[in-house]
Symmetry: C2
Protein backbone atom coordinates (compact mmCIF):
# COMPACT_ATOMS: atom_id res chain seq x y z
CA UNK A 1 0.00 0.00 0.00
CA UNK A 2 2.96 2.28 0.25
CA UNK A 3 4.09 4.45 -2.56
CA UNK A 4 7.69 4.12 -3.55
CA UNK A 5 8.63 7.76 -4.21
CA UNK A 6 8.39 7.54 -7.97
CA UNK A 7 8.02 11.28 -8.33
CA UNK A 8 7.56 14.32 -6.18
CA UNK A 9 4.15 15.96 -6.15
CA UNK A 10 4.64 19.49 -7.34
CA UNK A 11 1.83 21.33 -5.62
CA UNK A 12 2.72 20.08 -2.21
CA UNK A 13 6.43 20.45 -2.47
CA UNK A 14 6.13 23.92 -3.89
CA UNK A 15 4.18 25.06 -0.93
CA UNK A 16 6.62 23.48 1.41
CA UNK A 17 9.55 25.05 -0.30
CA UNK A 18 7.94 28.41 -0.23
CA UNK A 19 7.11 28.08 3.42
CA UNK A 20 10.59 27.04 4.27
CA UNK A 21 11.80 29.95 2.22
CA UNK A 22 15.02 28.23 1.48
CA UNK A 23 17.25 27.01 -1.29
CA UNK A 24 15.83 25.40 -4.39
CA UNK A 25 16.96 21.90 -3.60
CA UNK A 26 14.88 18.99 -2.51
CA UNK A 27 12.83 19.82 0.50
CA UNK A 28 11.58 16.41 1.24
CA UNK A 29 12.64 12.91 0.37
CA UNK A 30 15.56 12.47 2.74
CA UNK A 31 17.67 9.40 3.14
CA UNK A 32 18.40 6.81 0.52
CA UNK A 33 17.13 8.98 -2.22
CA UNK A 34 18.75 7.23 -5.08
CA UNK A 35 18.89 3.85 -3.51
CA UNK A 36 16.47 1.45 -5.06
CA UNK A 37 15.67 -0.50 -1.97
CA UNK A 38 18.74 -1.62 -0.19
CA UNK A 39 17.07 -3.38 2.66
CA UNK A 40 13.54 -4.25 1.72
CA UNK A 41 11.94 -1.39 3.59
CA UNK A 42 10.17 1.35 1.79
CA UNK A 43 11.81 4.72 1.91
CA UNK A 44 10.38 8.13 1.45
CA UNK A 45 7.64 8.35 -1.07
CA UNK A 46 4.94 10.57 -2.39
CA UNK A 47 1.49 10.37 -3.62
CA UNK A 48 -0.73 12.81 -5.42
CA UNK A 49 -3.82 13.04 -3.31
CA UNK A 50 -4.80 16.16 -1.45
CA UNK A 51 -7.53 18.21 -2.96
CA UNK A 52 -6.86 21.92 -2.74
CA UNK A 53 -10.07 23.78 -2.12
CA UNK A 54 -10.07 26.85 0.03
CA UNK A 55 -11.19 25.13 3.16
CA UNK A 56 -10.62 26.43 6.64
CA UNK A 57 -7.84 23.91 6.61
CA UNK A 58 -6.16 25.86 3.87
CA UNK A 59 -6.47 29.02 5.81
CA UNK A 60 -5.11 27.57 8.97
CA UNK A 61 -2.35 25.98 7.04
CA UNK A 62 -0.84 29.09 5.63
CA UNK A 63 -1.13 30.91 8.90
CA UNK A 64 0.36 27.90 10.58
CA UNK A 65 3.33 27.69 8.28
CA UNK A 66 4.41 31.14 9.23
CA UNK A 67 3.77 30.60 12.89
CA UNK A 68 5.53 27.29 12.84
CA UNK A 69 8.58 28.61 11.09
CA UNK A 70 8.71 31.55 13.41
CA UNK A 71 8.25 29.67 16.64
CA UNK A 72 10.73 27.03 15.65
CA UNK A 73 13.30 29.61 14.75
CA UNK A 74 12.84 31.33 18.06
CA UNK A 75 13.64 28.15 19.87
CA UNK A 76 16.52 27.23 17.66
CA UNK A 77 14.61 24.34 16.21
CA UNK A 78 14.37 23.33 12.62
CA UNK A 79 11.61 23.56 10.15
CA UNK A 80 11.17 20.30 8.35
CA UNK A 81 8.69 19.00 5.86
CA UNK A 82 7.55 16.38 8.34
CA UNK A 83 6.72 18.97 10.92
CA UNK A 84 4.73 20.97 8.48
CA UNK A 85 2.88 17.97 7.23
CA UNK A 86 1.99 16.84 10.70
CA UNK A 87 0.77 20.29 11.60
CA UNK A 88 -1.28 20.47 8.45
CA UNK A 89 -2.74 17.08 9.10
CA UNK A 90 -3.82 18.12 12.55
CA UNK A 91 -5.47 21.22 11.18
CA UNK A 92 -7.15 19.33 8.39
CA UNK A 93 -8.42 16.50 10.50
CA UNK A 94 -9.74 18.62 13.28
CA UNK A 95 -9.49 15.88 15.84
CA UNK A 96 -7.27 12.94 15.22
CA UNK A 97 -5.33 10.23 16.91
CA UNK A 98 -1.62 9.94 16.29
CA UNK A 99 -2.39 7.07 14.00
CA UNK A 100 -4.89 9.06 11.99
CA UNK A 101 -2.45 11.89 11.70
CA UNK A 102 0.11 9.46 10.46
CA UNK A 103 -2.28 8.14 7.82
CA UNK A 104 -3.11 11.63 6.70
CA UNK A 105 0.51 12.58 6.45
CA UNK A 106 1.20 9.38 4.61
CA UNK A 107 -1.22 10.41 1.89
CA UNK A 108 1.26 13.04 0.92
CA UNK A 109 4.53 11.70 2.17
CA UNK A 110 4.32 7.96 2.50
CA UNK A 111 7.69 7.56 4.10
CA UNK A 112 7.10 9.57 7.23
CA UNK A 113 7.57 7.34 10.20
CA UNK A 114 5.03 6.93 12.93
CA UNK A 115 7.59 7.69 15.56
CA UNK A 116 8.29 10.96 13.88
CA UNK A 117 4.61 11.70 14.12
CA UNK A 118 4.65 11.03 17.83
CA UNK A 119 7.73 13.11 18.34
CA UNK A 120 6.36 15.91 16.25
CA UNK A 121 3.00 15.98 17.94
CA UNK A 122 4.77 16.27 21.24
CA UNK A 123 6.92 19.05 19.90
CA UNK A 124 3.98 20.92 18.45
CA UNK A 125 2.19 20.62 21.72
CA UNK A 126 5.21 21.93 23.52
CA UNK A 127 5.34 24.85 21.19
CA UNK A 128 1.69 25.44 21.77
CA UNK A 129 0.42 24.90 18.26
CA UNK A 130 -1.63 21.85 19.03
CA UNK A 131 -3.25 20.34 22.05
CA UNK A 132 -4.50 16.95 22.83
CA UNK A 133 -7.62 15.84 24.57
CA UNK A 134 -9.31 12.56 25.11
CA UNK A 135 -12.55 12.51 23.27
CA UNK A 136 -14.83 9.61 23.95
CA UNK A 137 -12.94 6.35 23.94
CA UNK A 138 -9.43 5.15 23.46
CA UNK A 139 -6.59 7.12 22.06
CA UNK A 140 -5.71 10.74 22.57
CA UNK A 141 -6.81 13.11 19.86
CA UNK A 142 -4.83 16.08 18.76
CA UNK A 143 -6.25 19.28 17.46
CA UNK A 144 -5.19 22.76 16.71
CA UNK A 145 -4.64 25.01 19.66
CA UNK A 146 -6.96 27.42 17.93
CA UNK A 147 -6.86 31.05 18.74
CA UNK A 148 -10.63 30.98 18.69
CA UNK A 149 -11.42 28.37 21.25
CA UNK A 150 -14.42 26.15 20.98
CA UNK A 151 -16.42 23.63 22.86
CA UNK A 152 -16.71 20.13 21.52
CA UNK A 153 -19.97 18.28 21.24
CA UNK A 154 -19.16 14.62 20.91
CA UNK A 155 -22.01 12.37 19.88
CA UNK A 156 -21.90 8.94 21.39
CA UNK A 157 -24.12 7.66 18.67
CA UNK A 158 -22.32 8.55 15.48
CA UNK A 159 -19.08 9.77 16.95
CA UNK A 160 -19.36 13.11 15.23
CA UNK A 161 -17.57 16.00 16.83
CA UNK A 162 -19.31 19.30 16.49
CA UNK A 163 -18.26 22.63 17.87
CA UNK A 164 -19.92 25.57 19.47
CA UNK A 165 -18.87 28.93 20.75
CA UNK A 166 -17.29 28.86 24.17
CA UNK A 167 -19.61 31.66 25.07
CA UNK A 168 -22.22 29.09 25.94
CA UNK A 169 -20.08 28.46 28.98
CA UNK A 170 -19.97 32.01 30.20
CA UNK A 171 -22.59 31.40 32.81
CA UNK A 172 -21.06 28.22 34.10
CA UNK A 173 -17.53 29.45 34.20
CA UNK A 174 -18.58 32.57 36.06
CA UNK A 175 -20.42 30.50 38.56
CA UNK A 176 -17.55 28.09 39.07
CA UNK A 177 -15.09 30.89 39.45
CA UNK A 178 -17.29 32.54 42.02
CA UNK A 179 -18.32 29.51 43.98
CA UNK A 180 -15.28 27.33 43.68
CA UNK A 181 -12.48 29.55 42.61
CA UNK A 182 -12.02 27.25 39.67
CA UNK A 183 -10.93 28.78 36.40
CA UNK A 184 -12.34 26.79 33.53
CA UNK A 185 -10.18 26.36 30.49
CA UNK A 186 -12.95 26.87 27.98
CA UNK A 187 -10.75 25.82 25.14
CA UNK A 188 -10.77 22.26 26.34
CA UNK A 189 -14.32 21.43 27.07
CA UNK A 190 -16.11 18.47 25.59
CA UNK A 191 -19.70 17.56 26.06
CA UNK A 192 -20.72 14.02 25.38
CA UNK A 193 -24.22 13.18 24.45
CA UNK A 194 -26.46 12.58 21.53
CA UNK A 195 -26.79 14.73 18.48
CA UNK A 196 -30.02 15.62 16.78
CA UNK A 197 -29.69 13.00 14.09
CA UNK A 198 -28.99 10.16 16.45
CA UNK A 199 -31.70 11.22 18.85
CA UNK A 200 -34.22 10.99 16.08
CA UNK A 201 -33.53 7.32 15.55
Amino acid sequence: MRVELPERPRAEVDRLEHAVATHGGEVVGPQNRGVGRDHATTQYGYDSHKSSSLTTGEYHRSVASDTLAQVLRERGLRLTAQRQLVLEAVYDLGHATPDQVHCKVAETAAGVNISTVYRTLELLEDIGLVTHTHLSHGAPTYHAAAEEQHVHLVCRGCGRVDEVQPSVLDGVSDQLARERGFTVDVGHVSFFGECRDCAGG
Copy 2:
Protein backbone atom coordinates in the same frame (compact mmCIF):
# COMPACT_ATOMS: atom_id res chain seq x y z
CA MET B 1 6.10 -7.53 46.28
CA ARG B 2 3.33 -10.03 45.91
CA VAL B 3 1.81 -11.76 48.87
CA GLU B 4 1.73 -15.50 48.70
CA LEU B 5 -1.73 -16.24 50.14
CA PRO B 6 -0.52 -17.18 53.59
CA GLU B 7 -3.90 -16.53 55.12
CA ARG B 8 -7.23 -15.08 54.26
CA PRO B 9 -8.13 -11.67 55.62
CA ARG B 10 -11.25 -12.15 57.68
CA ALA B 11 -12.91 -8.80 57.44
CA GLU B 12 -12.78 -8.67 53.71
CA VAL B 13 -13.76 -12.25 53.03
CA ASP B 14 -16.64 -12.06 55.43
CA ARG B 15 -18.15 -9.19 53.62
CA LEU B 16 -17.69 -10.91 50.34
CA GLU B 17 -19.25 -14.08 51.57
CA HIS B 18 -22.17 -12.23 52.94
CA ALA B 19 -22.64 -10.33 49.79
CA VAL B 20 -22.44 -13.40 47.67
CA ALA B 21 -24.92 -15.00 50.05
CA THR B 22 -23.63 -18.42 49.29
CA HIS B 23 -22.14 -21.52 50.83
CA GLY B 24 -19.67 -21.29 53.64
CA GLY B 25 -16.69 -22.46 51.65
CA GLU B 26 -13.86 -20.41 50.32
CA VAL B 27 -15.08 -17.49 48.35
CA VAL B 28 -11.81 -16.46 46.94
CA GLY B 29 -8.50 -18.13 46.42
CA PRO B 30 -9.28 -20.33 43.43
CA GLN B 31 -6.80 -22.49 41.61
CA ASN B 32 -3.74 -24.12 43.12
CA ARG B 33 -4.89 -23.47 46.60
CA GLY B 34 -2.82 -26.03 48.35
CA VAL B 35 -0.01 -26.02 45.86
CA GLY B 36 3.07 -24.34 47.21
CA ARG B 37 4.24 -22.86 43.97
CA ASP B 38 4.31 -25.35 41.19
CA HIS B 39 5.48 -23.09 38.47
CA ALA B 40 7.12 -20.05 39.91
CA THR B 41 4.17 -17.74 39.42
CA THR B 42 2.34 -16.42 42.40
CA GLN B 43 -1.17 -17.62 42.82
CA TYR B 44 -4.01 -16.12 44.67
CA GLY B 45 -3.04 -14.30 47.81
CA TYR B 46 -4.20 -11.95 50.46
CA ASP B 47 -3.03 -9.11 52.45
CA SER B 48 -4.36 -7.32 55.45
CA HIS B 49 -4.43 -3.74 54.37
CA LYS B 50 -7.63 -1.85 53.91
CA SER B 51 -8.63 0.49 56.65
CA SER B 52 -12.29 0.28 57.50
CA SER B 53 -13.58 3.69 58.37
CA LEU B 54 -17.04 4.72 57.30
CA THR B 55 -16.01 6.56 54.20
CA THR B 56 -18.28 7.26 51.30
CA GLY B 57 -16.47 4.36 49.73
CA GLU B 58 -17.90 2.12 52.40
CA TYR B 59 -21.32 3.38 51.70
CA HIS B 60 -21.06 2.98 47.99
CA ARG B 61 -19.62 -0.42 48.50
CA SER B 62 -22.49 -1.93 50.38
CA VAL B 63 -25.00 -0.40 48.05
CA ALA B 64 -22.92 -1.61 45.16
CA SER B 65 -22.73 -5.16 46.40
CA ASP B 66 -26.45 -5.48 46.33
CA THR B 67 -26.78 -3.76 43.01
CA LEU B 68 -24.03 -5.80 41.52
CA ALA B 69 -25.46 -9.10 42.69
CA GLN B 70 -28.84 -8.10 41.47
CA VAL B 71 -27.87 -6.83 38.08
CA LEU B 72 -25.64 -9.79 37.45
CA ARG B 73 -28.37 -12.19 38.37
CA GLU B 74 -30.76 -10.45 36.05
CA ARG B 75 -28.43 -10.99 33.19
CA GLY B 76 -27.58 -14.53 34.07
CA LEU B 77 -24.08 -13.55 34.99
CA ARG B 78 -22.13 -14.61 38.01
CA LEU B 79 -21.09 -12.82 41.09
CA THR B 80 -17.45 -13.42 41.80
CA ALA B 81 -15.06 -12.07 44.33
CA GLN B 82 -13.01 -10.50 41.55
CA ARG B 83 -15.95 -8.57 40.26
CA GLN B 84 -16.76 -7.24 43.67
CA LEU B 85 -13.21 -6.28 44.37
CA VAL B 86 -12.90 -4.44 41.11
CA LEU B 87 -16.11 -2.60 41.72
CA GLU B 88 -15.03 -1.67 45.22
CA ALA B 89 -11.70 -0.49 43.94
CA VAL B 90 -13.38 1.77 41.45
CA TYR B 91 -15.59 3.23 44.13
CA ASP B 92 -12.73 3.69 46.52
CA LEU B 93 -10.38 5.22 44.05
CA GLY B 94 -12.82 7.63 42.57
CA HIS B 95 -11.00 7.91 39.31
CA ALA B 96 -8.52 5.30 38.31
CA THR B 97 -6.81 3.72 35.38
CA PRO B 98 -7.14 -0.02 34.82
CA ASP B 99 -3.68 -0.37 36.21
CA GLN B 100 -4.50 1.56 39.36
CA VAL B 101 -7.59 -0.51 39.84
CA HIS B 102 -5.50 -3.59 39.49
CA CYS B 103 -3.08 -2.40 42.13
CA LYS B 104 -5.88 -1.55 44.48
CA VAL B 105 -7.46 -4.94 44.00
CA ALA B 106 -4.10 -6.55 44.48
CA GLU B 107 -3.87 -5.01 47.92
CA THR B 108 -6.59 -7.38 48.96
CA ALA B 109 -6.33 -10.21 46.52
CA ALA B 110 -2.88 -10.34 45.09
CA GLY B 111 -3.62 -13.03 42.56
CA VAL B 112 -6.19 -11.21 40.49
CA ASN B 113 -4.99 -10.96 36.96
CA ILE B 114 -4.79 -7.71 35.08
CA SER B 115 -6.75 -9.17 32.22
CA THR B 116 -9.54 -10.00 34.59
CA VAL B 117 -9.52 -6.40 35.63
CA TYR B 118 -9.88 -5.28 32.06
CA ARG B 119 -12.62 -7.77 31.41
CA THR B 120 -14.41 -6.84 34.58
CA LEU B 121 -14.21 -3.12 33.99
CA GLU B 122 -15.73 -3.67 30.60
CA LEU B 123 -18.45 -5.80 32.11
CA LEU B 124 -19.20 -3.31 34.85
CA GLU B 125 -19.42 -0.58 32.29
CA ASP B 126 -21.78 -2.68 30.22
CA ILE B 127 -23.92 -3.23 33.24
CA GLY B 128 -23.87 0.46 33.91
CA LEU B 129 -22.16 0.42 37.26
CA VAL B 130 -19.06 2.23 36.18
CA THR B 131 -18.12 4.55 33.39
CA HIS B 132 -14.87 5.62 31.97
CA THR B 133 -13.72 8.99 30.90
CA HIS B 134 -10.45 10.44 29.83
CA LEU B 135 -9.30 12.93 32.34
CA SER B 136 -6.39 15.05 31.42
CA HIS B 137 -3.59 12.96 30.00
CA GLY B 138 -2.94 9.36 29.20
CA ALA B 139 -5.01 6.41 30.17
CA PRO B 140 -8.72 6.07 30.59
CA THR B 141 -10.02 6.42 34.10
CA TYR B 142 -12.93 4.52 35.46
CA HIS B 143 -15.30 5.79 38.05
CA ALA B 144 -18.61 4.92 39.55
CA ALA B 145 -21.62 5.60 37.42
CA ALA B 146 -23.08 7.37 40.38
CA GLU B 147 -26.78 7.72 40.67
CA GLU B 148 -26.18 11.31 41.50
CA GLN B 149 -24.26 12.50 38.52
CA HIS B 150 -21.61 15.11 38.84
CA VAL B 151 -19.37 17.34 36.87
CA HIS B 152 -15.64 16.96 37.21
CA LEU B 153 -13.32 19.86 37.75
CA VAL B 154 -9.87 18.71 36.82
CA CYS B 155 -7.04 20.97 37.83
CA ARG B 156 -4.15 21.01 35.45
CA GLY B 157 -1.91 22.30 38.16
CA CYS B 158 -2.21 19.75 40.93
CA GLY B 159 -4.24 17.15 39.12
CA ARG B 160 -6.96 17.20 41.71
CA VAL B 161 -10.40 16.16 40.60
CA ASP B 162 -13.22 17.99 42.26
CA GLU B 163 -16.90 17.60 41.66
CA VAL B 164 -19.86 19.88 41.41
CA GLN B 165 -23.57 19.49 40.91
CA PRO B 166 -24.58 18.95 37.31
CA SER B 167 -27.16 21.62 37.83
CA VAL B 168 -24.52 24.17 36.97
CA LEU B 169 -25.01 22.94 33.43
CA ASP B 170 -28.72 23.44 33.26
CA GLY B 171 -28.40 26.63 31.33
CA VAL B 172 -25.92 25.29 28.86
CA SER B 173 -27.67 22.03 28.23
CA ASP B 174 -30.93 23.81 27.63
CA GLN B 175 -29.29 26.12 25.20
CA LEU B 176 -27.55 23.34 23.34
CA ALA B 177 -30.70 21.30 23.16
CA ARG B 178 -32.58 24.26 21.77
CA GLU B 179 -30.01 25.55 19.36
CA ARG B 180 -28.29 22.38 18.29
CA GLY B 181 -30.58 19.56 19.19
CA PHE B 182 -27.71 18.12 21.17
CA THR B 183 -28.55 16.30 24.35
CA VAL B 184 -25.72 16.69 26.80
CA ASP B 185 -24.89 13.75 28.98
CA VAL B 186 -24.35 15.74 32.14
CA GLY B 187 -22.95 12.76 33.95
CA HIS B 188 -19.87 12.83 31.83
CA VAL B 189 -18.67 16.36 31.82
CA SER B 190 -15.19 17.39 32.81
CA PHE B 191 -13.89 20.88 33.00
CA PHE B 192 -10.19 21.39 32.89
CA GLY B 193 -8.62 24.41 34.35
CA GLU B 194 -6.98 25.70 37.46
CA CYS B 195 -8.24 25.33 40.97
CA ARG B 196 -8.20 28.03 43.59
CA ASP B 197 -5.06 26.77 45.27
CA CYS B 198 -3.04 26.55 42.11
CA ALA B 199 -4.24 29.88 40.86
CA GLY B 200 -2.99 31.50 44.01
CA GLY B 201 0.57 30.37 43.38
